[in-house]
């Protein structure tokens, strides 16, 4: 029997202390309390990051730790190498430069938006190894199980000398990352836009943070969720009318999440006009897990919305949010507090409906945004667009969807989340949204993935909505009916033209497929006049001047 006192139980703490000693030596007198001058960022990183370390570099949907990302590309690859990067989002060129420079070799991530094409090229040349592509919640969860960061590089609005961080409205992923790192003997470094004597509120307690670096430039924020109403088409208005009348009103959907895009922006802008004219105010869309979409302003002002919890903030919406604390989650300082992990959990467990767009849908209803030349990842959609099997509380919408499912698949009474895929049958350049086989299969083969990267699985989808109508997959008896229901709303795509006309008419008679006219919607009413705002300027006006859109969205 070994003597228990001989076994060492604090290797990680000892390693952390060695790193901190090296940092103290490298920084010398330049370190004051926890504050490191910007020009010492590289020596600091070289002191606290060891070869093979798991490094979480904060890059979120909106907020980017861009100064620290640049600093990391400047470390000596002879000292710092073989890093295993953990990132919500691969957004900046520097995020991929690390692999070409020989600093990092593996990445586990969720979303790669702007770098998707370059990532695919680098995978093709074996320049980067992808551990797995996750959903946000999944990646955060692994930070607490088998992918705990050794070093976290995060971004905040301001800090004091003791390391207390104020993240402002864009708290986003910071709490999840810092908690996982700080409590497992990792090192937390924050870049901040400014040093202050006292932070407006403490978003991250100072004793979870080891170093703060005042960044020469404020961190980058992407206005990812702003959609100009001027670009919403009449077809999108028509689809939004069908969503409101054929799904939201039908099920009485009160708690929901909207995916990003013009399709859902059109729904938001139809709430105070079309939905109100149907008498739906107070009966639908009161509680949301949603980023502060500027296109929500008219609905909020009309009193449609009771509550919105956000994953992150949206550039230009800060003053509007601060002036509407009954709707948004705000701190004692008045500004919003967002939290991606909690909002994702809310979307998963507390919302009755998710609606979003996609690029491709197959005949089983599986959908994917993957194409062979782009590895774009998932973000949060798979969590939003899934029926949470762990949910137990009931709501009218959830129960009704469950009842519909049991008409085809008898079983013990339980509810069902509504998961709606909303697509035009053709995208720009006549790319069909409906395909026999998802590009995800080819991408999986090319990038050596164990399974095709499916965004939302067919068995999670309840409705597919196109300009041709709504297919209710809950009411399909078997795979063949399901296929014909999908073909029946697939328009003039090859999949749509290949429909069995008799079966589709039968499905329509049964209400499995519902066209605009079946819902009492006259297509000629689908004009842009129905939109509560037809331009960014209209949104500013609706907000009473509180919404301050980024320059690129101003054309006046």
């Amino acid at each position: 029997m070994p003597n228990p006192t001989e076994k060492i139980w604090d290797h990680e703490r000892q390693r952390r202390n060695r790193k901190l000693s090296r940092a103290a030596a490298a920084l010398g007198a330049s370190l004051r309390d926890k504050v490191v001058p910007a020009d010492m960022a590289v020596p600091l990183l070289e002191s606290v990051i060891e070869p093979g370390d798991r490094v979480c570099l904060e890059g979120n949907n909106q907020k980017q730790a861009d100064f620290l990302a640049q600093a990391l590309t400047r470390v000596d690859p002879a000292r710092v190498n073989k890093l295993h990067m953990l990132q919500s989002v691969l957004a900046l060129p520097e995020h991929l430069d690390l692999y070409e420079l020989g600093i990092a070799e593996q990445v586990d991530f969720s979303f790669s938006g702007p770098q998707a094409a370059r990532l695919a090229r680098m995978v093709g040349k074996n320049q980067i190894r992808i551990g797995a592509i996750h959903t946000y919640l999944e990646l955060f969860s692994r930070y607490f199980v088998d992918l705990t960061p050794h070093v976290a590089l995060v971004a905040a609005q301001s800090a004091d000398a003791q390391g207390n961080l104020y993240t402002g409205p864009n708290t986003e992923d910071t709490p999840a990352i810092v908690e996982a790192t700080a409590f497992k003997n990792g090192i937390v470094i924050a870049q901040v836009n400014e040093l202050v004597d006292k932070v407006p509120r403490v978003d991250i307690p100072g004793d979870w943070v080891d170093f703060v670096i005042p960044s020469p430039q404020p961190h980058y924020i992407e206005p990812l969720f702003t959609r100009d109403p001027a670009q919403i088409s009449e077809i999108q208005v028509l689809m939004a009318m069908m969503a409101i009348k054929g799904i939201y009103a039908e099920y009485g959907v009160q708690r929901l999440n909207h995916g990003i895009g013009f399709d859902t922006a059109a729904i938001e802008l139809l709430l105070p006009t079309y939905a109100a004219s149907l008498g739906l105010k107070g009966r639908i869309c009161s509680h949301w897990a949603l980023n502060p979409h500027p296109t929500m302003i008219p609905a909020i002002e009309a009193g449609f919305v009771k509550s919105i919890h956000s994953f992150g903030s949206e550039l230009g919406m800060e003053n509007y949010i601060a002036a509407r604390p009954d709707v948004f989650f705000t701190g004692p300082d008045g500004t919003m507090r967002s939290n991606r992990a909690f909002s994702q959990a809310a979307g998963h467990y507390a919302c009755d409906l998710f609606i979003g767009s996609t690029l491709q849908i197959d005949l089983a209803g599986n959908s994917s945004t993957a194409t062979l030349d782009r590895i774009s990842g998932f973000g949060g959609a798979p969590n939003m667009g899934a029926d949470a099997a762990g949910r137990r509380h009931a709501s009218p919408a959830w129960l009704r969807a469950g009842e519909q499912r049991r008409t085809q698949q008898p079983g013990i009474p339980r509810g069902r989340k509504l998961v709606v895929q909303m697509v035009e049958t053709f995208r720009e350049h006549m790319q069909p949204a409906f395909v026999a086989e998802l590009d995800a299969w080819k991408l999986a083969e090319f990038a050596n993935m164990p399974i095709p990267p499916v965004m939302i699985y067919g068995d999670d989808v309840t409705h597919i909505l196109t300009e041709e109508g709504i297919a209710n997959l809950l009411l399909c008896a078997n795979a063949e009916e399901r296929e014909q229901a999908i073909r029946g709303v697939a328009g003039y795509t090859e999949m749509g033209l290949g429909r069995d006309l008799r079966m589709v008419e039968n499905l329509r008679d049964r209400g499995v497929i519902r066209r605009a006219e079946d819902l009492g919607i006259d297509k000629r009413d689908a004009t842009r006049d129905l939109l509560a705002a037809r331009s960014i300027k209209d949104l500013v006006r609706a907000s009473g001047g509180l919404y301050q859109p980024p320059v690129r969205f101003r054309n006046w």
Binding site: H429, M430, E467, E468, G491, Y492, L497, D522, R524
Partner: protein, 106 residues
């Protein structure tokens, strides 16, 4: 960029009365549709000029469905397309025929 010209003719429609109508705009992803009266013995002739080549089968299906919906005869339709999706094409055709008949809802 070469333009593709497609021609369709549907017989046995019901002659409709109206005045020449133009709807839509020739902007990217959109199209312009003109409907004119024409003595065609009850037929409907459609000429499409499109910048997107190789979609003849889809145009054929869209036009056939359009004719089935309205069965409008003695008209000539000219379509000037800048890459509109079939959904937009159908919507504009429906708008054009209603405008031609002078009863388009506003």
């Amino acid at each position: 960029m070469t333009i593709e010209n497609l021609k369709y003719r549907f017989d046995n429609g019901t002659p409709i009365q109206g005045a020449t109508a133009i709807v839509g705009v020739l902007g990217s992803g959109n199209l312009e549709v003109m409907v004119e009266p024409a003595a065609l013995g009850g037929a409907c002739e459609i000429e499409v000029s499109t910048a997107a080549r190789g979609f003849g089968t889809i145009w054929q299906a869209v036009m056939k469905d359009f004719f089935t919906r309205h069965r409008a005869g003695d008209i000539r339709i000219s379509v000037n397309d800048a890459g509109a999706t079939p959904a937009i094409v159908s919507l504009r055709l429906d708008q054009a025929i209603e405008t031609f008949k002078g009863q388009r809802k506003t």
